[in-house]
Structures are given as structure tokens and as C-alpha cells.
């Protein structure tokens, strides 16, 4: 299986071959990244300021921060969908300019194609890379099985539950065996039980492929349970406030269980005390702006 998907790996660099872990091509280096937007009134708005961050190959990095602090903006710069106003992002030593090769992106909003069946939603990744339709279909069927959606190939997204849609999105994101996986609050809208199941599934799949992950979340438990490293961003304009290394052993096992471990609670407490001020400040900012 892994060999099949390795064939479809994108990325031109010679160092870039197969399963993310330890692969230099999967290092994300963000240097002094600043992004300013032009508001419709013609003013500039600084969304993120001087963000610097390194994600080692195969590392799982969670980003938390108050709403509107620029987490999605940071991800958009890494993917190459937007251009930084200052600073740079490098992936595998190459400065990002245009769409980065070998990146998969799970968007904050539902980004499944409503006019494509579940199967076609998943196989679009390999098809766009030029994989023959038959092979792509086989690959997609295999991924649907892995995320527990065998038998739903012919459904349209509107015929699925929210959790199932997220699974399709996850299969679509992982099918290309990305070196880098960008996830923007992927499980934000799910109920607690479904969320736990999806988190376990994600960890399992990630351990199989080992891409470098940037994972945005508002849920501290989720951040600590999944990540190797948790990054706290300040309120707007966002910049890095703190970085916590999560030294819980891997494989983590069941995310529901790990929550009760002493070390988990300790880390979670530290992170929350760092984040609390920012959340309060962000709240005052928006309240002040609307007043």
C-alpha cells in the first residue's frame, strides 16, 4: 500500500522520497513571517507579525490562540495559497513561492465538492497528479476503507453526517501521502465522542505516513493529546508567544485515556495559563472594536 502511494508522491526534490519521518523535505521553517491585508476601505490590517517557527520533519505541531489571531492566515502562507508581506516560509529548504508541492490542506470550512461523489472527492488528489483513473480509484477505495467509509462511495456529501464528511476530507488529504499536512480546526464542529474517534484515527494514520503536521485547534486537550509541540499565538496581530514541547510517550494510544494522566494535566495547565491572558485580551479587543 505505502509503495503504491509513494509512487504518487509529489515533490521534485531528490531528497523527497516516501514516508515523511526523518525526511528533510518535510521540514517547515517560518522566518519573520508577516501578513498584512488590504481592507475594503483601503487601510492595511496586520493579521500576523513576525512569526517564526520550525516544524521538524515528521513532527506534529499544534497551534492554539485566540480567535482572529491569524492561525488560518499562517497556514495559508505555508500552503502557498497566499504570499507573505514580509519574511518567508521554507519547506524542505526551498522558499515557498506559489503552491507548495506535497502539501495537503484540510480547511476550516467544509471543502468537499458537493457535485462529486464520496469516491470522486477522494480520488481527485491522485487524478490531479496524473494518476490513471483505475489506479486512483483503487487507491481511493483503499483510503475509504481505512477511514471506515466502505460502502459510501456513491453518496454525495449532502447525504453524509458531519463526522463522515470530515472522514472523507481526511482521506482526501492523506491519499497523496503528503510530506506536509495542514489542518485548520478539522474536528472543530464535531461532538465530543465523534471527535475522540477521529483523533484516534488521525493519530493512527499519521503514525503510518509520518508527514509533518501543522494542526490548528481551540481545544487544548486535543492539542496536548495529539501534538509533539504546542505553539501559543498572541491576540491580533498574532505572533508566537510560547512553545511547549509535549514529552508524552508515543504511540499515545487512546486520547480519551491519556487525558487523565498526571503529566497531561500538568502540561495542559501550563498551556492554559499562557493562553488565558491572550484570550481575555482578544475578547476585550473585539468588544472594544464593536463598542
Amino acid at each position: 500500500m505505502t509503495t503504491v502511494s509513494e509512487l504518487h508522491r509529489r515533490g521534485g526534490t531528490p531528497t523527497d522520497h516516501g514516508g515523511g519521518g526523518g525526511d528533510e523535505g518535510a521540514r517547515i521553517e517560518i522566518h519573520g513571517l508577516t501578513k498584512r491585508y488590504l481592507t475594503p476601505k483601503g487601510e492595511t490590517f496586520t493579521a500576523i507579525r513576525d512569526v517564526s517557527l520550525t516544524v521538524e520533519p515528521g513532527q506534529f505541531c499544534a497551534i492554539v490562540g485566540p480567535t482572529g489571531c491569524g492561525k488560518s492566515t499562517t497556514l495559508a502562507q505555508v500552503s502557498g495559497l497566499e504570499h507573505p508581506s514580509a519574511g518567508s516560509v521554507s519547506v524542505g529548504g526551498k522558499v515557498v513561492d506559489g503552491i507548495t508541492n506535497g502539501v495537503s490542506y484540510m480547511f476550516q470550512a467544509d471543502a468537499l465538492f458537493p457535485w462529486k461523489t464520496v469516491l470522486n472527492n477522494v480520488l481527485i488528489g491522485p487524478v490531479l497528479l496524473g494518476t490513471p483513473k483505475r489506479e486512483a480509484t483503487e487507491l481511493a477505495m483503499d483510503w475509504l476503507r481505512r477511514v471506515g467509509l466502505s460502502g459510501f462511495e456513491d453518496r454525495y456529501p449532502h447525504q453524509l453526517s458531519g463526522g463522515m464528511r470530515k472522514r472523507v476530507a481526511m482521506a482526501a488529504a492523506l491519499i497523496n501521502n503528503p510530506r506536509i499536512l495542514l489542518m485548520d480546526e478539522p474536528f472543530g464542529a464535531l461532538d465530543v465522542q465523534t471527535k475522540a474517534i477521529m483523533q484516534n484515527e488521525l493519530l493512527q494514520l499519521w503514525e503510518g505516513l509520518r508527514p509533518s503536521v501543522l494542526f490548528i485547534t481551540h481545544d487544548l486537550d486535543e492539542a496536548v493529546a495529539l501534538a509533539d509541540k504546542v505553539v501559543i499565538m498572541t491576540s491580533s496581530p498574532g505572533t508566537i508567544k510560547n512553545v511547549f514541547d509535549i514529552d508524552l510517550p508515543r504511540p499515545r494510544g487512546d486520547v480519551q485515556q491519556i487525558r487523565h494522566e498526571e503529566r497531561f494535566l500538568e502540561l495542559q495547565g501550563q498551556i492554559w495559563s499562557s493562553l488565558k491572558d491572550e484570550v481575555t485580551r482578544a475578547y476585550k479587543q473585539t468588544a472594544g472594536a464593536s463598542a
Binding site: R10, S79, G80, L81, I99, N101, V103, S104, Y105, F107, A109, D110, A111, F113, P114, W115, K116, T117, I124, G125, L128, L129, Y156, H158, Q159, N176
Partner: protein
């Protein structure tokens, strides 16, 4: 134990009862709708017949249902001064279809091109609005002067009318495309052409198909008007001839024929809509009609 089983049986019975009464309510509703429809037709057509019969309305100007029927029969049995009705109808349909196809293709292609290019749409936008605001039907006269009495100018006028309807819808449809979906395929490495194939066109399709319903109507209008303005064959010519001989009944008869054609086309467009847009969630009203 026994009471539990009895309870279950009772619940099942109630459920069956509920289902049956729901079905009765639906059947009753449908019956009443049809009663209303038929009643409305009887009142309008019967009223027309009665008013003209009684002389309150002059049937010389307004025709009469029975006379319209007679004209209709005559058109199909005796034919017209310009050949059989089938021949003429076929020519009009060819013109309308030709205009429909040309106008739709041009509208879709230009709408998608302009809709996806910010700069182009900003430059050309105002001019399109100006062209849209001029009464395009007048172009028919110019086309006939320029291209003669053949089928060409009719197809052209129909195409122009169709073009604008389809163009504006395609343009709007492209503008409404979910930017998230575009980002999604772009991240997956799609070229601009692939973005159009996988996202822009399928997404704009909802709007384009919606416009096709009215577009076919416009194609027919374009063909008919151009024929009225000057032709050697076609239903429009029959209409203008009947107008010349003060024969409203034949005009109405032609209207009935054209209406039947348009309804037929509408049916095919609905079929197309169903097969192309089968991914859409059923609308609320469809879901309710259990």
C-alpha cells in the same frame, strides 16, 4: 411481559394509523389541486367563449376558442399559403434551436472567462451592461437588412437574445463559486484549466441550467420576431400573414402550437437539469412531498 408485548402491538397499530392518515391527507390535497386547475381552465376558456358568443367582446378582434380550434384543425389539414404547417414549424424550430445552441455556447464560454478574470470583467463589465440595456429585438431589422430573408438572421437574433440571459447567469455563477473549493484544488496542484473543469464549471452549472429554461423561450421569441419582420417560411410568417387578413384565430392557433413546442423543450431541459444536478440536496418542497 405480556403487557409489554401488548404495548408494542398498540404502538405499531398507532404508527400504521398515522401513516394511513398522512397518505389520505396527501391524496386529498392533490385531488383538490387538480380540481382547482381544471376549474380555472374552464372558467377562463369558457368565459372567453361565452363573452364573445354573447357579443360583449368582439370576436372579430379577440377571436373565440371554438374558432381557434377550427383554425388549428385547418392549419394541420389544409396547410398554409407557404406549404404545410409542419414544414413551417420545422423551419422555426431549426432557427430557434440553432440560436439556442450558439447563444448558449457563447454565453457560457464568455461568462466563465469573464467571471473568472477580475481584470477582464472590470474592463468589459460596463459595456456589457450598456449592450444589455439596448432593446436587442430591434437588431432583428438590421440583421434582415444585412443578411436577407434566409434562416441566418433568425438564428442570429435568437442567439443574441439567448446569449445575454445565459451569459449573465454564467458570469454570476462563476462569481458565486466557493473560494474554499478553489483553494482546495489549487493546493492539490490543479492548473487553471483543471480548476475550471473541477470547480468553476460544475459550480456555475446550477445557474447556467436555471437560465436555460428562460433561454429557450427567448430563442423562440427571437426566431418568431425575425420571421415576422421578414421571411419566406416559418410560423412567424403565418402569424404576420394572419394579422394582415384580420384573422386573430390563426394567430392564437400559432400561439398554441408554439406553446406546445416550448413546453416540450422545457421538458427536455428539465431532464438535463435532473441528470446534471443530481448531486444537489432535494429542495425542501420535494422532501416534504413524501
Amino acid at each position: 411481559m405480556t403487557s409489554l408485548a401488548q404495548n408494542a402491538a398498540l404502538v405499531r397499530e398507532q404508527e400504521a394509523e398515522l401513516k394511513a392518515s398522512a397518505r389520505r391527507a396527501v391524496t386529498l390535497r392533490k385531488t383538490w389541486i387538480w380540481v382547482g386547475r381544471i376549474l380555472l381552465a374552464v372558467i377562463v376558456i369558457g368565459g372567453w367563449q361565452w363573452f364573445t358568443e354573447a357579443g360583449w367582446v368582439d370576436k372579430f378582434f379577440f377571436g373565440q376558442p371554438t374558432e381557434v380550434w377550427n383554425s388549428l384543425v385547418k392549419l394541420f389539414t389544409d396547410g398554409t399559403a407557404f406549404g404545410s404547417i409542419w414544414e413551417n414549424l420545422w423551419i422555426t424550430i431549426q432557427e430557434a434551436l440553432g440560436g439556442f445552441v450558439v447563444g448558449t455556447l457563447a454565453g457560457v464560454i464568455l461568462g466563465i472567462l469573464l467571471g473568472s478574470n477580475r481584470y477582464l470583467s472590470d474592463v468589459v463589465g460596463p459595456y456589457i451592461r450598456i449592450v444589455n440595456s439596448i432593446p436587442r429585438i430591434v437588431l432583428g431589422s438590421i440583421f434582415i437588412v444585412a443578411f436577407g430573408l434566409g434562416m441566418g438572421p433568425k438564428v442570429l437574433l435568437a442567439a443574441v437574445l439567448v446569449f445575454f440571459v445565459v451569459f449573465f447567469n454564467a458570469f454570476q455563477g462563476v462569481r458565486e463559486v466557493d473560494q474554499n473549493l478553489i483553494s482546495n484544488v489549487r493546493v492539490l496542484g490543479a492548473s487553471p484549466l483543471q480548476v475550471a473543469m473541477h470547480v468553476t464549471i460544475p459550480s456555475a452549472m446550477t445557474w447556467i441550467i436555471a437560465s436555460l429554461h428562460s433561454a429557450f423561450g427567448f430563442a423562440i421569441i427571437g426566431a418568431l420576431v425575425a420571421e415576422v419582420l421578414g421571411a419566406q417560411h416559418g410560423v412567424g410568417l403565418i402569424i404576420s400573414q394572419a394579422q394582415g387578413t384580420f384573422d386573430p384565430n390563426t394567430v392564437y392557433a400559432c400561439m398554441v402550437i408554439i406553446a406546445a413546442v416550448t413546453l416540450g423543450a422545457e421538458y427536455f431541459i428539465s431532464l438535463l437539469e435532473h441528470s446534471l444536478l443530481k448531486w444537489r440536496p432535494p429542495s425542501r418542497s420535494e422532501a416534504q412531498a413524501i
